[in-house]
Point group: C2
Chain length 353, copies 2
Amino acid sequence: MPRTKTPAFVSSRGNASAQCASLKSLAQHLQLSPATVSLVINRSPAAKSIPQRTQDRIRLAARELNYRPNFMARSLRQQRSFTIGVVVPEISEGYAALVMAGIEDHLLQEGYFYFVVSHRHRSDLIEEYPTLLQQRAVEGLIAVDTACSEGVAIPLVSVSGHRELPGVSNIVLNHARAARLAVEHLAQLGHRKIAFIKGQAFSSDTESRWEAVKAAAIDLKVSFNERLTAQLEGESSSPQLGYEATRKILDRRESFSALFAFNDISAIGAIRALREAGRRVPEDVSVVGFDDIQSAAFQNPGLTTVRQPLREMGVIAAETLLRRINAPAKSSYPKTITIEPELIVRASTAPLS
Amino acid sequence: MPRTKTPAFVSSRGNASAQCASLKSLAQHLQLSPATVSLVINRSPAAKSIPQRTQDRIRLAARELNYRPNFMARSLRQQRSFTIGVVVPEISEGYAALVMAGIEDHLLQEGYFYFVVSHRHRSDLIEEYPTLLQQRAVEGLIAVDTACSEGVAIPLVSVSGHRELPGVSNIVLNHARAARLAVEHLAQLGHRKIAFIKGQAFSSDTESRWEAVKAAAIDLKVSFNERLTAQLEGESSSPQLGYEATRKILDRRESFSALFAFNDISAIGAIRALREAGRRVPEDVSVVGFDDIQSAAFQNPGLTTVRQPLREMGVIAAETLLRRINAPAKSSYPKTITIEPELIVRASTAPLS
DNA sequence: ACAACCCGCTAAATCGATTTACCCCGTGAT
DNA sequence: ATCACGGGGTAAATCGATTTAGCGGGTTGT
């Protein structure tokens, strides 16, 4: 039997304004049972036997008393949180931010919210965050440019993850085509000696991109010279890495008339290194970036780059995830979704003079 | 009396792996009551009368059965969500992304998660999102560069909000000092004829910054010439706006040797306009930006700018909010926290030749 | 006349924890 | 012998919804 009875509606936290109104109080006010009110408010099919009159009364009162269903109670009962988790390497980087913008667009439209966490390439965090998010009852995960561990019990969509894992849907760029677009563009401008900058080992795009670049170079009869390649080194995402890689290439004193960087950020660093070495861009050296982050267009000169439709990739990731979440149990799911890149020609490339 | 009994632990959703283990099942396994287990697991003071032996048994079993408290159940009972909401104009913009990085840092450290929403300056969304977030049971809100409506029942911290509202803590830059830093720098380089670009009307920083700039100009005896000022126009956050504003100024054929833009993005557009008009930067015209977003350092030449410590501002916002959330009820809260700017001199400014 | 149904609604179980108010037993003090 | 007290727990209320089984009474069908 009950020991104590609190006086009802004495909220313990200091909310001065009228945010209360539970289902129970609303029902009491209406002289109805909570069950009835719930049925009507949720437009449950079971409410069809309730006359319109009563329904109107209920809805009116709900509006007047400013009834807002308690989200946690509802989640607990229904075992749904309408929340998903997004794991990114770093929020303040153009890449992830653009993907997130797309994710947000679609999720909010569908009534979902999302938690964001950034792991800054720390492997302990990469392990820990998915678990933490699952404890927060997220219904699915999106991992951006992150090689996620397996063993997640919930649907997972990976953007540029590049690991075929059971239970994971991959959204990947068509790297073969992307590399070809860039190399072809340079080749058409007359460039034959092209320098290449390779990505850091930890970036999940590095390997597939590199293979694609090699293939494109060979295919298009462009020399692929080891002495004209360098790899980005270091955790940070600053143009400094591209600057250093380019310096290395320059120091080898091999001649080249074009450079294809791993991404826009490194392309920007490369341009600085080239200028310092007295080479003008694009007159002496043409430079192509990758990604088309916002600052690519902001460069002077504007950066020619292979555009990844990052925002769209975010939207597609969100769509795919929600489809999986709302699919009838263990049904099949897409393993890989390939996205087509686009070459954006700006002012950092020019014909071989 | 009970009508139906489900066979216990037959989860209706298709989770193959072992994620179950409720408090009840754990208690059953241990031949103890849920109450005891809960007390021990939460290290509640009431558990001090329980012998170490039992405590160890409980913790061991919890580990073995991989017990994870159900977040929603716990939230419901405790009326706490450990979640806050962050409202930004646009995720994929350097400004908000940097503030968010700071917010995240601190929140996750303290065991909080956050929802992000972006309103893209749509006033209906600015109205709607705070309500939506409150329905999601967030314990507080951070609004970044957003003139939030009043009437929020939960603690609100505003970063660059610039509206003194009851219940709101404002984090603002010391604009007087910021303007002075920039103008003084240019004046010391010998510039007297300086062009100024003013921000869009919807940006909450625009007015205070503008006043500060005028005051600094007058104070430092730099001419403040209406014909050398222009305002950014348009919703987008692209350098194009700065480009157009600068064109307007150039078209007036008034001579100037330096330009102070509203922010880095517009400074980048300005540089492009100046170059196209045959003016070199910094040899003919020095340019100063504002914010120090990542791409400021990435510019060629590197952009001299007034740095807002955006990441730190995010951390401070999060700290302030958590302090308010965990403060004993209606206690007082900081109304305004002023942040000091810093001048970052790069290569876009040079002495008057 | 009795079953079958429909209408309008409700009781009560449930989701999975937290937390308060005891309870029972043994020991030491009076 | 009785009381007080502390140790080692537990029962049950509670958070705020959702949802199923079913109740009472009137109508219809046969």
